[in-house]
């Protein structure tokens, strides 16, 4: 299973690295969103640094949706899905691989965005341990839940509109928890943040487990 | 009764929506039964 996962993740990341869609489009899109938020809210630095964590995670969600969509577009183009299905790879392995690749891309995106938030919104990074754990759990959660829904929406004509409708409500608690945890960390009151971090880990565990169990049947005949 | 307008509006819209939904289901059911031959509906 782990070997299969590594194979699939490696393949996805290689495809992404070569197509450069992520670098050329998704990352600029994410930074653009940060700028647009600044236009929409206020150029006032206090406002922006106060809402920074929330905006950061909203941006991660939206860019994450793009990454998830990309992850399945590369399968439905040229009917690579059928090849994947016939490859004899373990369903759970494919799930972990695809989710892992999405998580890796999200992690890179988060680093860039964090820089963007620090520079553009004048946010000072306090409580690095909590920030890192929050990012870790939230990223895994988003990637796992997104991948489960990604395969459901993949290859459908209505894919582009169905995926956000399915994923965003499911990710609502992640958005809430991650934003609150980051706020707590940045405000220097980590005690407020730990329950949220725990919740994020619970979410990630549930959806990773669910994906491992459900992905095989979903891939089989979708 | 205070706020009678709001309260009646609430009751009226609830029952109207429920009746509308029930009516839609039943009408559509009738239409579909007519499209199917008796031997299909067993």
């Amino acid at each position: 299973m782990w070997r299969d996962a590594a194979l699939v993740a490696g393949k996805d990341l290689r495809v992404e690295a070569r197509s450069r869609v992520g670098v050329n489009q998704v990352v600029p899109f994410a930074l653009l969103v940060l700028v647009v938020f600044a236009f929409a809210l206020d150029s006032d630095r206090d406002t922006l640094s106060a809402v920074g964590p929330g905006l950061f995670w909203v941006t991660v969600m939206f860019s994450g949706l793009l990454a998830i969509q990309r992850s399945f577009v590369i399968e439905s183009d040229d009917d690579a899905r059928d090849a994947l299905r016939l490859s004899g790879l373990d369903g759970a392995g494919i799930f972990l691989g695809k989710a892992g690749a999405v998580a890796a891309q999200l992690a890179v995106l988060e680093v860039v965005l964090a820089l963007g938030v620090v520079v553009l919104y004048d946010v000072h990074l306090h409580g690095p341990v909590m920030l890192l754990l929050t990012c870790l759990a939230a990223t895994v959660g988003v990637a796992a839940a997104g991948t489960v829904y990604g395969i459901i929406a993949a290859g459908l004509r209505v894919r582009d509109t169905l995926l956000p409708l399915l994923v965003l409500p499911v990710l609502a608690p992640v958005l809430l928890a991650a934003a609150r945890a980051c706020e707590a960390a940045l405000a220097g009151t980590p005690a407020d943040g730990w329950p949220w971090v725990r919740l994020l880990f619970v979410f990630a565990t549930i959806y990773v487990t669910f994906g491992v169990v459900a992905f095989g049947p979903l891939l089989e005949e979708a | 009764m205070n706020d009678a307008g709001y309260i009646f509006a609430g009751y009226f819209s609830t029952f109207a929506i429920l009746a509308g939904y029930a009516g839609w289901v039943i009408r559509r059911k009738r239409t579909l039964s007519r499209l199917l031959r008796p031997e299909d509906i067993t």
Binding site: A145, V148, Y149, I152, L156, V158, L162, L165, L166, L168, P169, V170, A172, P173, L176, A177, R180, D192, P195, W196, L199, V202, F203, I206, Y207, F210, A214, P217, L218, E221, A222 | M1, N2, D3, A4, Y6, I7, F8, A9, G10, Y11, S13, T14, F15, I17, L18, Y21, A22, V25, I26, R28, K29, L32, S33, L35, L36, R37, D40, I41, T42
Partner: protein, 245 residues
């Protein structure tokens, strides 16, 4: 199954109509206003039953039916159709819950919406199950569609406790000014007739749910048969064209 609804279903329909009418009369005429809430309490006789039926009964049935569909030994189209029918009614009831709740909020708090824990959970739940219904509408072969829908239903259900927990904390950790003390307002000194009316409302809406479910299931089943028949007709035509009989 026949085209006409069975006598049992018809009795159910009449019973729910009568109890609903009774509830409305009790709620609007007979019961007194609440000591704290005044007349706005009359809206709760609709609000509480719809919320209860939507969240616990309808979505509970959807989840259970989805599990039964996925479990190989009980797999049948019946459970899939039941899950879909129940979810649709649940979304309808939850929509009504939000509508009534928001009117109540307008009277009590002066605003249509607040980011109260219960409200927010309900709204997220509403959107989650709208997504489920959208997945059901996506065309695919019947088996693929059913399995996909069942998995989405279970994934949505798994999310419910997490949403609830997160929203609960969100509101308690960020409590600026309490609009209302939930416990005091929702557990007031209930007048005898008020408790009975609420109880009657729950029964009325439960009967209505069962009646709607019977009809909605039947409709889904007819749609299914119609699709089957269309397929059969198409196959027959192709065979006739090819001269096979």
């Amino acid at each position: 199954m026949t085209t006409k609804s069975s006598p049992a279903v018809r009795v159910l329909g009449w019973l729910s109509a009568v109890t609903l009418a009774l509830t409305a009369v009790m709620a609007l005429v007979v019961t007194p206003g609440d000591v704290n809430m005044g007349d706005s309490v009359r809206l709760l006789y609709l609000h509480v039953p719809t919320a209860w039926l939507a969240m616990y009964v309808s979505f509970g049935v959807t989840t259970l039916a989805s599990v039964l569909y996925l479990w190989k030994r009980t797999r049948s189209r019946f459970w899939d159709l039941t899950a879909g029918a129940s979810a649709e009614i649940g979304v309808l009831f939850l929509g009504l819950t939000l509508l009534i709740g928001s009117i109540w909020g307008r009277i009590t708090w002066g605003v249509w919406w607040t980011w109260d824990a219960r409200l927010t959970t309900t709204a997220v739940l509403f959107v989650l199950y709208l997504g489920y219904l959208a997945v059901r509408k996506v065309p695919a072969s019947p088996e693929v569609q059913s399995r996909r829908a069942a998995i989405v239903a279970i994934a949505a259900f798994l999310d419910v406790p997490i949403v609830h927990q997160s929203v609960e904390w969100w509101r308690t950790l960020h409590q600026d000014a309490t609009f209302l003390d939930d416990r005091r307002l929702l557990d007031p000194q209930i007048h005898g007739s008020m408790a009975w009316t609420l109880f009657l409302g729950v029964i009325a809406f439960t009967l209505l749910y069962c009646w709607l479910l019977a009809h909605r299931f039947r409709l889904a089943w007819l749609e299914d048969r119609l699709a089957d028949r269309a397929m059969q007709v198409a196959i027959d035509e192709r065979r006739a064209e090819a001269g096979i009989s």
